[in-house]
Amino acid sequence: MQIKNNIKIWVTVAAIGLILEGWAFYVVSASPEHWRPSMIVNDEPEARALYDTMIETLQKVENLSYKSKCSAPDGRVCTYLIQLKKPSAFRIDVTNDPSLKTNTLVGNGDWLWIYWQGVRPYLIVDDAEGYQKTRSEVYIKKASPAGKNSIAREIDRLGIIWNGLILDPSIFHGYEDPFEPYINGVRSRGPYNYRGEACDIIEVSYMNAQRTRYFWISKEDHLPRQIKQIDRLAENHVRVEEWSDIKSKIIIPQHKVTWSPPEGWRQWHVPGPDDLLLKCGQKAPEFDLPSADGGRIKLSDYRGKTVWLCMWECGRPGCRKVLPDLQKFYEENKDKDLIVLGFNCTDNKKIARRFVRENALTFPNVLDPSEDAEKVMLRGYNNKTKTLPLHTLIDAQGNVMDAWCGYVEGHE
């Protein structure tokens, strides 16, 4: 009898132990590599106040100079020397380490100039012939009204750097971060001593945790010391931006933030993303790829109809704005010979499907984060700059009628 009781006790203890271990295994194996709804952060008032104070501090200070080192796990580092002066002047010198050559952006609130030391690098927007003619002693001049243009985006678009800035210096001049309206919440991750400086870490979640940023904010001056961004695409992309040599109480001399081209230099009219796209009359490249609902989508299946092909990505504010408009357009024109076709080749499938569901997108969507699908977008449809959304109108014979990038506010 006693032996039976002992066995019962041991079996009960073992069962409880296994259940507890099963629960523990489930909890600890929830890997940060895989997106889960619990990654979406709810607002904590104190953390939100820290974030708002950081933005306010950036906007209020009269002069700001800092060094920013942007890196990724692949080991490539870009160094930025950023000088910002109110009301609207700035200068950014950027180097891809370990190269000693510098690219410079200078702006005065109306115009932005970009120029290079020596021979300029071959850029995404270049072609071999054009590059030979514009290798050196050239500069770019663009209209750039203060507070309306993103400096970081200009740097990214040119493809002159390996890792772009996470926190856009344009915030200093009143530019609103386009991701700001998509913040789910801000929460505290506790205090941290970052290289001898007392900081508070906050976590900011955007677009249902499709993007997460962590800010190490100094308790002393409310400016960041480190920023980490995680983009949850088909693979997770991590970038880190480290600030140093921060000076906010200096006066930046005017000559540091002004520039005029030396004699003999020529202005280079750099091709925009639209200039690189397919032209009217060209054959639209065929594709046969998996769709969001588990089937397959073949472009030639829509021969005989006009196709509005929209390439999109969850993490782009422009895409998030244009897709509901396209859904309305699709519903209004369903009975006509006009079809809307979505194309997503970069996103994490779970996040993309959730986005499609939440926005009730019923038009067919390619959803395939594979190399083949990416080649279709980059090489087939010539989207070298990866500017999204990318729209291509294709006629009933399969020829391109028009192609353009981006989303303009109010554009329906």
Binding site: G17, L20, E21, W23, A24, F25, V27, V28, S29, P32, E33, A72, P73, D74, R189, G190, Y192, N193, G196, I201, E203, Y214, K228, I230, N236, V238, V240
Partner: protein, 257 residues
């Protein structure tokens, strides 16, 4: 009474055990004095040092030959006579080691607190969690080492664990540093995370995750912390069960090796 004697025996089983404790405590103090910067800094660096030296190396040092010595000398035949069962013998040894470690870490904590107030450098924030995590790691490694000492003679149980751990982490480091092989290391990484002594989980439990390119930042939540502790204890139990089974199955001789 016999159980109490077995537990107490782990404190003075070998002459060098007291020396090990003293040297380890001096090492903690030395690290605190020499390597922490003058300004106040999170206990993170010291915590990890304590975790590895106290949780891993100390466990190997104290459990070296814990059964191997008795098996080699033939004394095991005396120990496994009734009324003590094999399981009780094993558990007494392990309990002795755990109590030793608990006393060691409490003493280490006191020394660090004294040093903190005398030298005015470093931070004792989260020191308690690091001590607890180190103790959990200690008992898991001690259980593994004690089980291994049933089949491996003399002090080779500790040496074997040391060599295997260093080799495995070295190979894993080489594999992970090669990006295109990341997918292939999934099984190995999972094995090391869940079946191996829980270095990674316990260090994240104590220190949080602040790695530059890590996919998360901050300390473990309460549920994850509890889950870590549960998993660590479960692993200890599994290693112990293996050790008890091996002890029961082995035939012992009264002859000296």
């Amino acid at each position: 009474m016999r159980k109490y004697e077995l537990i107490r025996e782990t404190f003075c089983r070998r002459g060098y055990i007291w020396i090990v404790h003293v040297v380890w405590l001096v090492l903690y103090g030395g690290f605190w004095w020499l390597f922490l910067p003058e300004s106040e800094k999170e206990v993170g660096d010291f915590g990890r040092f304590l975790f590895i030296w106290g949780g891993f190396f100390l466990a190997l040092a104290l459990s070296a030959g814990i059964f191997g010595d008795d098996i080699s000398s033939g004394r095991i035949c005396v120990l496994i006579t009734k009324p003590l069962s094999h399981g009780e013998l094993y558990l007494c040894r392990l309990l002795g080691l755990s109590l030793q470690a608990a006393a060691h870490f409490i003493l280490a904590g006191c020394i660090i607190v004294i040093l903190r107030f005398v030298m005015r450098k470093g931070s004792i924030e989260h020191l308690g969690i690091w001590l607890f995590a180190s103790w959990l790691l200690f008992i898991t490694v001690a259980a593994l080492s004690t089980s291994l000492s049933v089949v491996v003679g003399r002090i080779y149980n500790s040496l074997l664990i040391l060599v295997v751990v260093v080799t495995v982490y070295f190979i894993l480091g080489l594999l992970l540093s090669s990006m295109h092989q990341k997918a292939d290391t999934g099984i190995l990484t999972a094995f090391i995370r869940y079946a191996w002594p829980p270095f990674e989980l316990l260090s994240k439990f104590a220190g949080g995750e602040y790695g530059k390119y890590s996919l998360t930042v901050g300390r473990f939540s309460v549920s994850k912390s509890i889950a870590c502790v549960v998993h660590s204890v479960f692993l200890t139990v599994v290693y112990s069960i293996i050790g008890i089974i091996l002890l029961r199955k082995r035939q012992f001789s009264r002859q000296r090796d």
